[in-house]
């Protein structure tokens, strides 16, 4: 064999095995479609809550208190009222705390309540709350922002749990579905959240319909203690000046 043939044969031996069969790949179109759907949700949700000073949400609310709860032998109570939520801008909850987005919630006959949140383009985080009573000087404040709602939230997922007061307050937020909900203010595409948890010896169950771009459009809240239902409250968005 000629010497010059040797290198040729060696290179051939290296290249020919490269012509092996290509491994079969699954079509990725299905996972691509699902990713596209997820991104489409996220894109459509942003900005998740575009607020300006003076923005207002007015809710028609109804509360039911079963018999025997307010006092022994007391009759069941059913009452309706209007709850108004107004955006105040950045407010300091207390001197030593940073200014953060603040909503003031007003119910006739009850002290106002302030809700402190952080509003970003793609998420809303809970920071705390404060009932505006003369004797209340300090807000309930979460040291770390707690995720409440996020753009692109998928049904079947869960937000990080909340725990405060050494475990006295616990919250779990699950995303149940994305569904249309009809309220007096109109029909909205909403994220249906289920919040369950405890506040000391009280247990709560709260279903929230959050419409990205608008805010909370419907809510159902029940509280329990021991083996009793304490009250049930439902509220539906009746009017708002926040665009969709």
């Amino acid at each position: 064999m000629k010497p010059t043939a040797v290198p040729f044969l060696v290179s051939l031996a290296l290249v020919v095995p490269s012509c092996e069969k290509q491994p079969a790949t699954e079509p990725s179109s299905t996972s691509t479609e699902e990713s596209v759907e997820k991104d489409a949700w996220r894109d459509a949700d942003i900005p998740i809550l575009p607020v300006e000073n003076g923005d207002m949400w007015e809710y028609e609310a109804k509360v039911e208190i079963p018999a025997g709860v307010t006092s022994r032998g007391a009759a069941a109570v059913q009452t309706s009222f209007t709850r108004t939520r107004r955006y105040l801008g950045k407010v300091k909850p207390a001197e030593e705390l940073p200014a953060t987005d603040c909503f003031q919630v007003t119910v006739p006959g009850s002290p106002d309540e302030r809700e402190f949140v952080e509003i970003h383009d793609d998420r809303v985080l809970l920071r705390g709350s404060l009932i505006m009573r003369p004797e209340t000087t300090r807000p309930l404040w979460y040291e770390h922002p707690v995720p409440f709602v996020e753009a692109g939230m998928r049904p079947g997922t869960e937000a990080p749990g909340i725990s405060a007061g050494g475990g006295a307050m616990v919250r779990r937020i699950q995303v149940i579905a994305r569904e249309k909900v009809t309220v007096p203010a109109g029909e909205y595409d909403a994220i249906r959240l289920l919040m369950t948890g405890t506040d000391g010896d009280m247990e709560l169950r709260r279903t929230i319909w959050f419409a990205p771009g608008t805010g909370i459009v419907r809510e159902e809240k029940t509280r329990y203690r021991g083996d009793r239902l304490l009250f049930r409250e439902e509220q539906s968005l009746a009017r708002t000046n926040v665009g969709r």
């Binding site: 491994p23 790949t25 579905a177």
Partner: protein, 252 residues
Amino acid sequence: MKLFQSLLVILLALAGISAADTDFEYGSRPPNSVFDAAGVIPPERLKEISEPLVRNEKLEGVDIVVVVLPSLAGAPPEHVARQFSRAWCTSPIHAVVLHVPGEKFSPWIVPDGKLIDEVHLDVRSRSIADAQKRAMREPDDISKIAAAAVEASDMLRYWLANYINRAEVVKTERVKMRLDLERDWHNRKLYRVLAGALLVPLLLGISWLAIGFRPRGARLFPDRRPPRRLGAPHAGGNHAELDLGRGIPKSS
């Protein structure tokens, strides 16, 4: 005769249908997913309970049937619920909400279906227990039924969506692995071609060097310079040589 035969066919067909109806002692499933044998749900509340159930089944495949019985007749509630489930539910994820007015631990939520097995047993048990406990605390039968129906719906919708998410993750991971394999295959092919491309000139070079330095064969005349003889200023043979640098030596 023909009339008789036609009537016979019709009667047999009707008998077949009747037989199907009476296979299950409670008959066929109601179209609104609520079976109130105890007669406790007023019509206006019935619609409020059944509409979301029908909608969720149609849009998401989550099937909830509400059954209200006057009594369990001593049977365990889960057993009774599963009888309804087997007779009336075909979805891979479904539940029966069973309520018996006056029973202390009623209502019961009994999920079933292939996809229920995908939920971890601890998670399933805890979720059902919490849901039942909340529904039990409602003040009256209708509120208990309504609450249990909502709890069951939320629970199953969440589990189904969670299962779909996990399945997508597995599928995505599998696709990623396949794409990695394909990329590795392409890289290996590239490396082999590059190796071949580098090796060829290298081997050629080695071959030429080997050829150049190999011991000479019989037919090759080496390039040799014959030595000077007897001090002659020139060498003999084919290569006459004259050293001009040292001048003409003196003759001895």
